[in-house]
Symmetry: D2
Subunit: 347 residues, 4 copies
């Protein structure tokens, strides 16, 4: 290990050839306390990173396809940017061998293996390990994250929806019933997927909903909201849309306001709850969230407007789906685990 | 009138320098039974149409700024593509002089002058004329339109929301309470407006809500829905968003389903209600609406998915905001008034 | 044939599942003198057109996979929207059986089978038939087109480049040496191709050249320019770029001006040459071409600026690659062949 | 000055409310050795930065409108993001008072006051100061920049064109005659300008050239190229286009190759010339430049293809117009002047 850089932790990016892998790379190369020791991809093993991500041409890193043992030997932390199911196969031995695992897949997000079965059409691949996993939302589980060996990074949509809603559910400013979430995502959210609906002429000038009942992020959102509301379970409507932008998710959330609650109270509750949060931005009255203001940052911006007319509140939130919605939040979790400045490489 | 083309009606486009004016022009030049006699604009009077709309370079038409009397003398029908308030000033004398007026502004859409005052911050400019105005939704008022002298063309958002909802409210398949509409519009919906929020770098890669409580189209939507539901009034949430496309509105609508109603029943009710509608497309199970499929057409496509989980139905609709949402519907109304094929110039 | 519509010609669209096929369909359904008798696709045979092109949902047409004999029996005209090589296989028997063939592929554009071999890496599939083929540029071969049995529709880039250059070469206002063409195409020009470089996040916010030396359209462009210049052959640089728009090609062309030639002279030569051209728009001084002004039309707009500084002229042209660059020009050719109004279905 | 941060230089951003100002801010807030002491704007004085650039909401900085003396007292370095003409008014006293001035405007780029007069329609505002100004191209004037008091940052187009061409002109691999540059810029290149041609619906789906003969960057490009070629002057064609992306410039350059020169030789000359350049990326054979690969970075990527057919070489380069084309290069220059790591805040 003499060839490693002193004082840096060693990071592996496993399954690095998609957009989350590219974003992890963008962030980690800027991180002064991290050395990237491997970038794995079966498909691209042996090829320089610039062949796959031309933006990194000249960066002296090749894709490789090491065994899990080799990863475990070389890395202090492994980011899993793998499909669900496959992620668990890597997580089990890596955690066992003492590597800190930060999983961007969905494998360890749901506490309920029944819901995993229902929404992912497969038995949970590692129910025992699931118990150790910490749902990596830094704004509400920082202490657990510090001690975690396996962190399940929240999904992109769940992040954009939980951040505005959770403080309001905890403070009981809104009803836990009848919540509606209408979210719009950029096309990178579909992954670096080569499929007809995602080619440019099919996305450009197109706005369309999809998976409007039963999207895989639904049980994850409900799990987190129910916990905040102190309930066993909750049922919401979550309706995602695809819009012609590269990066960004905007969520518009409608909830029934408790009698007499004002927008100022909501902002006050948010400001208190997020007083120490590095990346949550509560917008002042008169402003609403806009994806453009958070792209390529780890921020989530949140805003609210109350509507006397119906007694509902409208919440508006925006994140970059690849940063706060995936790789950025993963790096934030790594910073917490290793005791670095939580914002390192993220500003 | 010897220089006019035999057998054609004469049309004036008043206030023709915005995007609705441009779209009216695009459609009317293709209409075999219409001759455009004037294209008015104070700002551009005297200039060839191609100076303002380069797409029409070579078309032998100049902008002009005739008096209302001159318009009345030369035209059988006048399309008003004017700001609200101004439209009424033209409508009053034109209707009086026997010109059929098809108004794209908001002046004659609301039956209630109180609501006009509340949402437009001005006394209604022509309360007497308001009584004669027919709300020009061809799918539900064709007989009235045939006889109308003044047609108030529905707003773009209201069109996209009323078409899917009205048959379901009439058939009592959904509750009239708690309806939520989350709509996304292309930037042409803001008009040909030169303002910082609408320049390219501020819109591209941006998704943002605006006017989330109290948009001017809200009372219009509620008026039409309430009538269909047989109620005095209704209260809904309508949340518009700006997305980086040129043309198109997608509306996602969430409503409480009456016990036991299926998606097939909804499609059946729609198919029955729209059996004779020239431009409503009920999508089969498995499909959702997409703006891209209707741009530059007068179609509205509508789709539904029921959600057992919450007991709600999710409706999805798409129109081109400048065609079915403005100029196309205006031409459809003209076709009905003058007894032309309802689809003339619209396919 | 009793079920056919009286007085209409019967058209087959062969290989109809790409963007050119979709555009042919858009135009032909609006054509009062054409009945579409078949829409072929091996992949989609049996499926309604709306399954493949959702924009046509509700249109009562299914894809089919007829034999060539069946096509020949049912159709008066066949549009071939097939890959090169395959197009010739259909053209040979169809022409033989008396069907007018309008080929959108590259099979019959090059007079030289040597160049076909060089640029398409294959022996020409039908050298005998090649002699009968007419290069379907209506602005300069209308009389030949009228009598043609097989029309090779010009490529999209060649159309955008030939239209401004040819009159100037013929009139000897510019040098035939050292011509440079820098063209920018929308992504639909790549076809409805499912490949990584064409997914939305790889095209959006991207501008890139490709095939900068030896693009397949190069010999076609040179063939047409050389003919106009009265030369055996010519050598130009043609550099295509991909830009994030759906439709449209802009070509910027730089040529050495002959001593003393003015921009006014160029416009005069253009205006004379295109006096009877239905779809060429010569822009006045002060204007340059813009793809946005021609999308979804069959127009080509052309403009010029002379540069004293270098003695060069800069030409600017714009077309819609799917309309004037493919399907629209094909329909224009059909109109000429069958004696219809040249503009039918194209305005 | 006790409230200033130890060991940091103090920077003023003068005229900070445009896109270059925003980009300077994005970079400087990440710079560990820089403290921003003022952000000036007459229009927005007193308002928090987040009001003007919502992306910076929460950043504790207000716009102000200090006198030049106040700027001089508080700042070690002043970035001028002002219109030409106005920039010189600030530069004169600031340089005199010992502030290092890094000017992003065009005021000190042209050595010739005659050309300034011709292209900017005004007498040069500070001919004496012009002599001291260093044209801030770090790749070829690093030693001069180190000692400079006034740095004229190169224009965006000139940067994208000079970087690929200069080494080839110096090495005499190409002819200095007949060079053609066809460049495509994102809309942020037009500034944060509120004008009809730049609103979203006028730019989206549009590709258009502008200022094709006599653009203001032309004499700047020619000045730099002529110097490299060892000539008094040069004449090229430079043809800019506007394309619907936010950020990025791609330049395609065509030049006559000297007999027998190969693409490998060109890449070799580039690699040698840019061996120590922090931000120039020479692409391998088979790759061409793409704006998407450099956006939000300070890199310029360059590539070449030779064409036997015409004897020309085609060069392809890409930069981010706001980073390497403006604010990033300005920060790179500041890093050089103050002896910081040249890449600080730029990776």
């Amino acid at each position: 290990m003499s060839d490693h850089q002193v004082g840096k932790i060693k990071a592996a990016i496993v399954g690095a050839s998609g957009y989350s892998g590219e974003e992890l790379l963008r962030l980690l190369v800027r991180h002064a306390q991290v050395e990237i020791v491997c970038l794995t991809s079966r498909q691209y093993a042996g090829r320089p990173v610039g062949d796959v991500f031309p933006r990194f041409t000249g960066l002296d890193l090749n894709f490789s396809s090491p065994s899990i043992d080799e990863i475990a030997e070389s890395a202090d932390v492994a980011f899993l940017a793998l499909p669900h199911g496959v992620a668990a196969e890597f997580a089990i031995p890596l955690v066992e061998k003492g590597v800190k695992v930060i999983d961007i897949s969905a494998d360890f997000r749901l506490k309920s293996t029944e819901k995993y079965l229902k929404y992912y059409n497969a038995e949970h691949p590692a129910p025992d390990l699931l118990k150790q996993a910490v749902y990596g939302a830094p704004e509400r589980r920082k202490e657990e994250i510090k001690k975690a060996n396996l962190i399940a990074c929240p999904g992109c949509y769940p992040t954009s929806i939980s951040l505005p809603l959770i403080p309001l559910l905890k403070a009981k400013l809104i009803s836990s019933e009848g919540i509606i979430c209408s979210s719009m995502s950029g096309v990178s959210g579909a992954g670096r997927k080569v499929d007809l609906p995602f080619i440019f002429p099919e996305c450009n000038e197109s706005v369309r909903p999809y998976a409007v009942a039963g999207h895989r992020h639904l049980p994850e959102i409900e799990q987190e909201l129910a916990e905040a509301a102190g309930l066993e379970d909750m049922a919401i409507n979550f309706i995602p849309h695809l819009v012609p932008i590269n990066r960004g998710i905007h969520s518009t959330i409608i909830a029934k306001l408790k009698e007499g609650v004002s927008a100022d109270q909501i902002r006050q509750v948010w400001n208190d709850y997020y007083a120490d949060a590095a990346f949550v931005r509560v917008l002042p009255a008169g402003r609403l969230a806009d994806t453009k203001n958070v792209t390529l940052t780890n921020f989530c911006e949140i805003a609210c407007v109350t509507d006397d007319h119906t007694g509902n509140v409208i919440l508006s939130s925006a994140i970059d789906n690849l940063t706060k919605g995936a790789a950025g939040q993963a790096v934030q979790n790594m910073n917490i685990v290793f005791g670095f400045d939580e914002k390192a490489a993220l500003l």
